[in-house]
Amino acid sequence: MVEKEDNVERPDGRKFDEPREMEAKVGIIDNAFGSAMFRFGDTVALAGVYGPKVLHPQHLQNPKKALLRCYYNMISFSVPDRSRPGPGRRDHEIGKVTEWALSDTIDLEQFPSQVVDIHISILQANASTRCAGINAASLALANAGLPMKEMVSSVSIGKLDKGLVVDLTKEEEDFEEGEGATDLPLAFTPSGKITLMQMDGQISSEQLKEGIKLGKKACEKVYEVQKEALKNMGDK
């Protein structure tokens, strides 16, 4: 069924199920407990994990498990028109959904009353920044040696007029012909669990199901890139 979508024309000439060129690097911030970079074409995300460490103020401490905090930050030079520095409404939201996408994979109960901070910086943005951020953050958490069940891989699914595509760029996000563009960021664990699903635009329930299938396939590719990055890190 999915094969039919192959007639979608994309501005950069990619196939409908082809993500942009991906690159991942692990252990790039010396002062962090764990760090990683993830790139989807022109979208570059940098993640650093700080912790587990003692949580202050004390009233935030949970004696049963550690707190996971996620900060998403778009650097002012990451977009064509300079963005105002500092966290805005959008940054808080994305930080929160990233936290939810990752928290179920980490065993936070081993670190009671402590905190794990994840700082995600978007160095260069060309859509799918939250997906790149989640991929980088998951790599950084693994690099920090935290006990976790599995990794998280994320990709965005889009709908250009009627056809589904994988990994949207900014140009595709602003597509206005026909039904317009729909943006559907998804995050999967390798075992097939969905940890993030958001949507912008409109989509029929059949196409949504198809989109999820497409996203799962694309996330498998992302997972391979993540795995490669972690395995090559030990070679040095």
């Binding site: 587990p52 003692v54 994979t105 693994a142 006990p147 976790m148 069940k149 990794m151 972690l230 395995k231």
Partner: protein
């Protein structure tokens, strides 16, 4: 997947990856699911006989009872000292865990900023307790302190101390390595201490290679030639 034939062989695994399947016991950093042993963290997977465990490569130091660590006094209370042992938990050294009789102002014994070699006695969810009763434990009055990756401490010590003994012998320094990655070096002069420090940093950078003790011997030879 690690094959049954190449026993004791190590490979890097990522969280959630299958290490082996079959009749194996899950050790540190692994879990069993549907007869498969899966990795619970990132590290080197090691299969020894039928026990599977993961040796961490990165991450913070997690205290264990019996570990000797080097800590810094960060606060003084009425009943003891709060210590920083580079681990996330609250760490406490009680007055009753001191070998000498202590009376009056605790800062007269150990003050903020002092470095102490301690042993971990208990690890609970509330925090970690330390003791300085024991041989070679207590305050360092002089010397050099350096920090290394706590996951590489076993490499720097070497098999039954082979590596550390080599460094001690070549540099004429006294060295104490805490399991938390803090190293104390005391030599007759600064040059010896710096030499020992450089050697330890060399091992820290190289520690994925096997046959390391021989490499360090070569390293010392090269330094002597350059003089």
């Amino acid at each position: 997947m690690v094959e049954k034939e190449d026993n004791n062989k190590r490979k890097i695994v990522v969280p959630g990856e299958e290490v082996v399947s079959g009749e194996y016991l899950p050790g540190d950093g692994t879990r069993k699911e549907d007869g498969k042993i899966l990795a619970n963290r990132y590290g080197l997977a090691e299969v020894k006989d039928n026990l599977v465990k993961i040796i961490p490569l990165t991450g913070a130091y997690i205290p264990r009872a019996g570990n000797v660590v080097i800590g810094q006094v960060v606060d003084v209370t009425y009943s003891g000292w709060l210590m920083d042992i580079k681990s996330p938990a609250n760490t406490f050294l009680s007055v009753s865990e001191c070998p000498t009789y202590i009376k009056g102002d605790l800062t007269e014994y150990y003050d903020i900023g002092d470095m102490l070699a301690c042993e971990v006695t208990t690890v609970k969810s509330g925090g970690v307790d330390l003791t300085i009763k024991g041989r070679n434990l207590g305050k360092f009055d002089e010397g050099l302190i350096m920090n290394i990756n706590p996951n590489k401490v076993p490499r720097i010590i070497g098999k039954s101390g082979s590596m550390i003994n080599l460094i001690k012998e070549k540099t004429n320094c006294q060295i104490t390595i805490g399991q938390n990655g803090v190293v104390w070096i005391l030599g007759e002069n600064i040059e010896d201490e710096v030499k020992a420090k450089d050697a330890i940093l060399y091992v820290d950078n190289q520690s994925f290679i096997s046959g390391l003790t021989e490499m360090v011997e070569e390293y010392f030879k090269k330094i002597e030639e350059n003089k």
